[in-house]
Symmetry: C2
């Protein structure tokens, strides 16, 4: 097994995608939210980088709209990007279209891979278990505004630790070792980063605590041929 971790969409080596299983990570908060929405009973989730596309899709597919810009819920949307909003009573049996600043674009960039999964700290062990037989895994971190984001890369390191591949690129090696050194206190690491502090400053402390717990969820969202995750 080989693992390549890419810190942003710009770094992705697109020519390698078709031969690999791709895992998209946007810990704060898109993939944490999507995992929790499906866990809470949502039927399917589609991700769209563009807000207009998301609005059109929600109409044509009779889907609920979720998402944010700058961390804050968009006007007229049923949900923002907080995993805690997606309660069973609100999402059960429903399709959801989400648009977010970074993660939805990463999920779009992953189209063309052999398979596409969504991963966060809350489901990282389940994702690893579903990939045990893969030859080549590409971990695509959403990043924050096209820059390296430590929350996503540290989660990639967690996935690398569980998978224990024979071959890995340098970022995969570094992040696995970082995760192994600090796995008992992920918030200690991430409290030092800008995106964590930004979300804290706009009141999302509960989301941070929720998103940084490890292996609380066992579901593994996988993309189907039409781009829906279930």
């Amino acid at each position: 097994m080989r693992i390549d971790v890419y810190p942003t969409i710009q770094d992705l080596e697109k020519e390698k995608l078709s031969g690999a299983d791709c895992v998209v990570i946007d810990v704060l908060r898109m993939t944490s939210t999507a995992v929790n929405a499906l866990y809470s009973g949502a039927r399917r989730i589609k991700l769209a980088g563009d807000e207009r596309v998301a609005r059109e899709l929600s109409l044509s597919e009779n889907a609920l709209l979720g998402g944010e810009r700058g961390g804050v819920r968009l006007p007229g949307f049923a949900f923002g990007n907080s995993p805690l909003e997606y309660t069973r009573e609100k999402v059960k049996g429903r399709d959801i279209v989400m648009t977010t600043t970074n993660g939805a674009r990463a999920a779009e960039a992953a189209i063309g891979a052999k398979s596409v999964r969504l991963c966060s700290f809350i489901n990282v062990r389940a994702v690893a278990e579903s990939l045990k037989a893969s030859d080549h895994i590409i971990i695509l971190c959403a990043g924050t505004h096209d820059k390296f984001s430590l929350d996503d890369c540290l989660c990639a390191g967690a996935l690398c630790a569980y998978l224990n591949a024979d071959e890995a690129n340098d970022l995969a090696v570094g992040m696995r070792l970082l995760f192994e050194a600090y796995k008992d206190d992920i918030p200690l690491v991430l409290r030092q980063t800008k995106h964590y502090r930004y979300l804290e400053s706009i009141g999302f402390t509960d989301d941070l605590a929720f998103s940084l717990r490890i292996n609380t969820h066992s579901c593994v969202p996988m993309m189907d041929e039409d781009g829906w995750f279930s």
Copy 2:
């Protein structure tokens, strides 16, 4: 003090360069070699990304030629890129022009910063001490073929640990924590990386051991107005 670490030249935010002190890192092996050549008595070193430019400079400046492509010494050059070749008897009082695959291009990309220093594990504490009064430090890692290279980024983490800045980008935070967790066994980390293994496979085991010792050298190469380091 603020620190930004960039893993490759492509990631550098060039518009920030003019207001910052820049540190160029290419642990395996350019900056280790340059530091050791100056420590061994070389008068000045100039770095050129282009081989033809390096050859012309060495003629016009009466300088010795050093450098590599693919890790191996170029034809007609006095030195390759092994720090151990640059002995006192060969370099004392001489100017040296070096061209290397990754590091020399990074040094060229740093031109325009308030100051430019060369750093490796062997002189990292000395570099940190020379920067105590800086407001903004940009650490530019050479990378390997324009990709994240863990040797350079881990050394950037060492520099961040010694500097203990108030503000840092996410890569700086992650690499500082990684260095702090593994600082007593840097080779343990880097033996897992591709570039280390490549250099080992072509016979440079002694260079690896030399380049991964911490704080054996106290000199801090700084670029002058004409692009020479001394």
